[in-house]
């Protein structure tokens, strides 16, 4: 059973890989734009999945980090800075701010933490909107250039799509490494039972801060790609709605599953487009679909697939298994 599970997973992965490689030749520019948005937002969702899905720390501030990354890149590249320096700066700045935002998580948890991070998101949004001298306010920053790679311009949609896809692959590999390292195990321990983790020498304070900082850093990378994707940024996309949307991606895909954010982002980015046949009702149609999904698969799409394919338990079922987290968590 285990072998067939991994065969199914590898086949699905290979099919998805082939599709992602040939997709730009199948779609018009708008389709490529949507697919690039998927790749960029998946990076932010992978970050949130680290913070929430693996380390168990709820955050409603991921949009703020995407925004900070986007504004840093937009502001600096429009002033002539090379893309790569702004990209690194965006990731590092978000890592540091994310670390600082982790401190409240040492004192409050769950819905209290959700509110602290929600307030942070609102604060950052207000700075984007009101500090016109810095951010351009509601007029935003226009003409954000797309980067060059080794003299090759990424300005065409297809090239920029591959550029973002390459980032997604690199971020995925790094995250895969991380969650399979002792850090990943410590994150799961922090999520499952912080008291016991602490008694086993796991410095829960340091890992909590690290979970926030890494998740935020990936948010920053996502933002650094988002700015040259849309080429015009204003505060609106980085409001709380995007944080909730990213949370939706993590939860719908399967919180704590490595591939959860990829699938979740398909639902959150592509599904609304695919439901456009319902014309002006498409968002209502989409909302009903998401509701149905959460009712029938509360542990997300991968949680649902995992339940279908899981081998029969040894003796008793896992007494403490939580429907909101995946049993494949650290594997």
């Amino acid at each position: 059973m285990r072998a067939s599970r991994s065969a199914i997973a590898w086949t699905a992965l290979a099919a998805a890989g082939v599709f992602l490689l040939v997709a730009p030749f199948l779609f018009r520019p708008y389709g490529i734009f949507i697919l690039t948005t998927w790749a960029v937002l998946t990076i932010a969702a992978i970050g949130l999945n680290l913070t929430l899905g693996y380390a168990g720390q709820i955050s409603l501030a991921q949009a703020a980090f995407v925004g900070i990354g986007a504004y840093i890149t937009a502001w600096l590249t429009t002033r002539g800075w090379p893309f790569w320096s702004t990209y690194i700066l965006a990731a590092v700045a978000c890592f540091v701010i994310g670390w600082a935002l982790g401190y409240p998580a040492l004192r409050v948890q769950h819905h209290y933490l959700a509110f602290v991070t929600l307030a942070f998101n609102t604060l950052v949004y207000l700075i984007f909107r009101n500090e016109e001298w810095l951010t351009g306010g509601i007029y935003g920053i226009t003409n954000v250039p797309r980067p060059d790679v080794l003299g090759w311009s990424m300005s065409r949609p297809r090239d920029f799509y591959y550029f973002c896809l390459a980032h997604l692959v690199l971020v995925s590999l790094a995250t895969w490494w991380l969650i399979r390292s002792p850090w990943g195990r410590a994150f799961v321990a922090l999520r499952e039972n912080p008291t016991r983790a602490l008694s086993l020498g796991v410095d829960t304070r340091r890992y909590t801060l690290m979970a926030f900082a890494l998740g935020a850093g990936l948010g920053g990378i996502s933002g650094a790609l988002y700015a040259p994707l849309v080429q015009f940024i204003d505060p609106t996309p980085f409001a709380l709605a995007l944080s909730l949307n990213l949370l939706l991606m993590v939860v719908v895909g399967g919180s704590g599953y490595f591939f959860g954010p990829f699938l979740g982002a398909v639902v959150a980015v592509l599904l609304p487009e695919w439901t456009r046949f319902a014309q002006s009702y498409y968002l209502m149609f989409y909302a009903v679909l998401v509701m149905a999904l959460m009712v029938f698969c509360p542990s997300g799409l991968l949680g649902f697939a995992d339940r279908l394919l899981r081998p029969t338990p040894l003796k008793t079922p896992a007494a403490t298994s939580d429907p909101a987290t995946g049993p494949e968590a650290a594997r």
Partner: protein, 247 residues
């Protein structure tokens, strides 16, 4: 020789309720000390104060001549103090082997080496030996949550020994374990004690288990030590009989 652990005049109160009321004792190298007492006598609170899970209201905890009062549990663990909890606390979603590796990994290398180094932190061999020692070797790749209660209890205890602790504090290791498994557990604990000269403090309600395992026993009632001595002496002590039977 100085004791491994000295507890001096330890106190803990919650509002008006005094849970631990001036407890002092020492644990010597290689000793198995039992702590018994009726429900609510302050045993687990005492453990939690020693181990930094709760801040004591007063008193001092000294580990190998080093004051460690109120130190964070993770720092104490890295100094060689491990524990189990009264309620079963294994990580149900990790495999049995992963639970054991987790229990030892923070003692290996640095944060950086744990990120870029080996996935098992070099502990697979140690985990397999521990599995064999606790006779769980056939279950290494199963999620801990799929094990029976008794097997999980063994795993919980095994995790306390993964880092080769100087001192292990076990809170009711025999609670809810069936008779066959209990004999196995007692046998394993004795073996660790004699082979590794590990020092234990054990809280236990199962009198037969504690009397057979421990070298010395403290009896706690209403937050105070009311008797101390070898198992035979404690069993005969009228104060102990009174505390348990309430007359």
């Amino acid at each position: 020789m100085s004791p491994v652990l000295s507890v001096r005049d330890l106190r803990k109160s919650f509002g008006g309720i005094v849970a631990v009321d001036g407890v002092s004792f020492e644990v010597n190298d290689g000793e198995i000390l039992g702590i018994i007492g009726p429900n609510g006598s302050g045993k687990s609170t005492l453990f939690n104060c020693i181990l930094g899970q709760l801040q004591p209201s007063g008193g001092e905890v000294v580990l190998d001549d080093r004051p460690v009062t109120g130190m964070r549990p993770c720092d104490l663990n890295l100094l060689g103090v491990s524990r189990t909890f009264q309620l079963l606390q294994v990580f149900a979603q990790l495999t049995v082997r992963e639970n054991l590796i987790l229990a030892g990994q923070e003692h290996q290398g640095t944060m950086l080496s744990r990120l870029i180094g080996r996935r098992d932190a070099g502990l697979s061999g140690a985990a397999d030996r521990m599995l064999a020692f606790f006779r769980l070797e056939h279950l290494g790749d199963e999620p801990a949550g799929a094990l029976s209660y008794g097997q999980q209890k063994l795993l919980d205890t095994a995790m306390a020994f993964m880092a080769g602790p100087r001192l292990a504090l076990l809170d009711e290791p025999a609670g809810g374990v069936n008779l066959t498994m209990l004999a196995n557990l007692r046998d394993r604990l004795r073996a660790i004690n004699s082979e590794q000269r590990a020092t234990f403090v054990v809280i236990e309600h199962n009198m037969e288990f504690v009397m057979a395992l421990c070298h010395r026993i403290l009896v706690l009632a209403e937050g105070r030590i009311i008797a101390e001595g070898d198992p035979a002496a404690v069993r005969r002590d009228p104060k102990v009989i009174e505390a348990y039977l309430g007359h």
